[in-house]
Symmetry: D2
Subunit: 295 residues, 4 copies
């Protein structure tokens, strides 16, 4: 293995652990974060100066404006032959823009969808990568350092954007799988004949059709709090679920389960449902059905 | 028109108004209700005694046990050649049982789905009727009295059970139509460019594809309370929605919109969603995502 | 009433009938269409020359590129003080762009969602209008000519974009209402006890909660072809349904029924469902379940 | 370990392999099947005679009528103190009936949901068991023989019915998980930037949130037939999916993803969609939209 140098921008929950895993593999990482407590350098310029050409810089900041401004700034600091990797959760449609913007200056661009969460440091990060073969190959030692051991966990999915698109669909699937377990759990909890839903879930971890890593995590969660009484039924959504549905609409692909899973999250964040107020109002209008007032 | 005698059991919100509408048409109605303040007689036996044979008795009590016990009691009181009409919201599968039970005693049975709610007294009640032709024809003057004027609002839908089945599907459609307006209303209320969603709804009452009686009711409701601030987003479901989905499952018919409309009602009645607690727990397990606790 | 002059661009199924209805109200319409057989003038320039300033030009061409190029061309031909109305099915996000582009030249812009289809010529067109009060008021005589008689069918919904947004939501609601009747119809057709689903639908036209103009149309269709045997179960979608779901995603509003209605249309256009191939493949993998091959 | 005697009724795809696995563990199995080529004995009576009291008989025949008639026949052949296990896919509501019927004769009853499919012989079968503690404990050596090695794959879920209820919910979750992967696969196959969806799926087998046994099977299937061109998009459903939705309706639990997954299967079996014919008919009625005819 050739030891590489990597600039890594964004040292949050994901980026910080990735720096650690890449370093453990023997590479040099210069990390930059706006938070000076975790940053190795004081500025992007300093980060770029610290790397030998051709440079490789991995961007791991929030999708949207933050990524755009880092890409813009790197466009001014880097040189022809350098390569930028966007490992954040960017929308695939941003990738072509970034590739074109940097490409005009001779700078390569690779998009990388990264999965692994808080477990990635120990287990490795699954990587879905998009970009030109030449740019992707240059990054290979870093990808090897990040990915899990074994034959899986890495794919060069296709052209620029294919990495983030694949990661986005991964997350869409994840939404519906989580919803599947959640629906089953709620139903089992309602049934008196079942003594312990937690033990049913635990038993499913081997020999069943539905065994999975998410199931293992569900058992962990139930071991902490058997009936999840400490939690509110409230879930954020992170962008990829929405984009998956939008991409499906663009391609006229029906996604009923994934979309249902997104909508339950939307509904979970409403204190009271406006649409159900209208249902209540209509029932009252035609049937004189009693309604509950807000006071 | 021949003036008829009718026994009417159950004088609640629906039955009380139906008695009045049938009387206005010139028929004789002997009404019975457990509530002596509204009842014309003191018992079912007294009601039956007050009618000349062949008797016709309309049952208008809650579906399930209440209807069953009235049918059982009538089976003991009535004579061969008499006819019972179940105009409540019974499940269609109960109708065959009731028809067989009464038929064994020579008593006819007709099932009638009745729509109209609080507006029925003035506008008439839509009737969907199931049963043998001979039994149905005997009831014709009463059906004429109840139904709206004009060519619509009455159908002899088919065999015993066909009336309640048709009414059940009517209610399933009703659920999804209400949901359609409710979803549109919530979305419009979110958009800043629209000055008054109420006025948009009002305008839709003519010339649009979506004009309907339910839309008129929605406008009434918004005139009372423009943003429905006085209501909670909480809706009961009355049985027919559930049975519609069950019938669809029996016949392998996909009903995505109607079922979605049933599920939003279920969700509206949960203070906190158990399934979303599981989603929150899983997100926390793999991503370290912040969760909201119940305290 | 003051007779007005109007330029009308696009004389297809909608535009042609709108020209006729406006003329019947006593206004002067100069129509332009690429098809010389229906066009009053040979070019947009000729249309603009034929109108006295301040001019009013109504654009009724397909949303997207066609509308954009007409707006661009009008921007070069019209003068400060003129007004353009986009009555096509444009996405509301295009309206602000068009308003800004024309506004920079002193030309007013109004967006108008138009409902009514082939029935509009006789019954009138429902209009949902967005734009500045001054621009909208200038158009009032034309709106009066197009709208149905009576108090409803017209609304100045709000700022630029509010007209198309309201029309878009109208169409989303329309999708779910159509789906509601369609689901109910399919279920009733499966049930042996019901003699004629057509007659059940016909009866619903009065006294029921679900009476509507769409129901009347359903009865018309069933009168033509009782079991719809002449039709394929195939439905296009026109853009507004997709945009409704996208707008809902932007605002985190759950739209389960409307989205389900969009997805059934997508699925109806697939000869074979790719996702169901994967389901079949998985069932075969774990259970040895028989699969159907394509040959 | 104590070697046990077991009667096993039903030696099909599941039962035949289970006999083999139990025998490998050193127990004696007398198998009966209507097919004499695989049966060890000629009749149920012969099977019962071949076992020492107290006997244990495992029923592994299709749910519904077939299971009922075997239970009835065993009720006549077995003696007080014997135990019957129903390991088929019976509806949980049948379990109480069977337990009562046999219990009246002093015969114990245990319900066992069995997962594992064609992989069970080698990997073991996951077991979800319901019944009285005394009856369940007697079966423990057989459960040990069938279940996978390791700590998971077996649970005494609760009272009679709890085993089949848990297995039913397992299958409901399975439906939605399969649908999740299937939706993601279809969307990825539509996108030009992705070179090989199969390789993306393969990469997901490690390090991702969505790794699972079903994902491994999906990769197997794609290795056989990369674009699943040999399969029709057609899927049966086996009862448990339907019962899961019905149980959810009974408990007012919303199951949007699982229900969507059931409905896509229903739709996959329709040559042409009746409900979409109605959509097409309505579009034609109001908009003059072109429809496709069946000829």
């Amino acid at each position: 293995m050739t030891a590489m140098q990597l600039g890594l921008i964004g040292l949050g929950k994901m980026g910080g652990n990735m720096r650690e895993r890449i370093r453990r593999a023997g590479h040099t990482v210069i990390g930059y974060d706006r938070n000076p407590d975790v940053s190795d350098v004081g500025s992007l310029a300093e980060l770029v100066e610290g790397l030998d050409a051709p440079r490789t810089v991995w961007v791991m900041v929030p999708a949207g404006g933050a990524t755009q401004s880092v890409v813009d700034e790197l466009g001014g600091l880097l040189s022809p032959g350098d390569t930028v990797v966007d490992g954040g959760n960017s929308r695939w449609t941003d990738d072509e823009k970034h590739a074109a913007e940097l490409g005009a200056k001779g700078i390569g661009f690779v998009d990388a969808g990264v999965s692994g969460g808080v477990w990635g440091l120990e287990n490795g990060y699954a990587l879905m990568v998009g970009g030109d073969k030449a740019h992707v190959e240059r990054l290979q030692p870093i990808f090897e350092a990040l990915k899990p051991e074994g034959p899986y966990g890495y794919v060069h999915a296709g052209k620029v954007g294919a990495g983030h698109f694949s990661k986005m669909v991964h997350n869409g699937i994840e939404y519906a799988m989580m919803q599947a377990y959640a629906e089953g759990w709620e139903l089992l909890e309602k049934v008196e004949s079942v003594d312990s839903v937690r033990e049913v879930f635990r038993s499913w971890q081997d020999g069943t059709v539905i065994r999975s890593w998410l199931l293992d995590l569900a058992v962990n969660a139930l071991d902490d709090d058997e009936h999840l009484e400490k939690l509110r039924g409230y879930a954020e959504d992170s962008g990829e679920g929405r984009w998956t549905v939008e991409a499906a609409i663009d391609h006229a692909v029906p996604l009923p389960a994934i979309t249902a899973s997104l909508f339950t999250r939307f509904a979970s964040r409403q204190d009271d449902s406006p649409q159900m107020k209208m249902i209540a109002a209509l029932r009252n209008q035609f049937g004189g059905h009693a309604v509950e007032s807000t006071k």
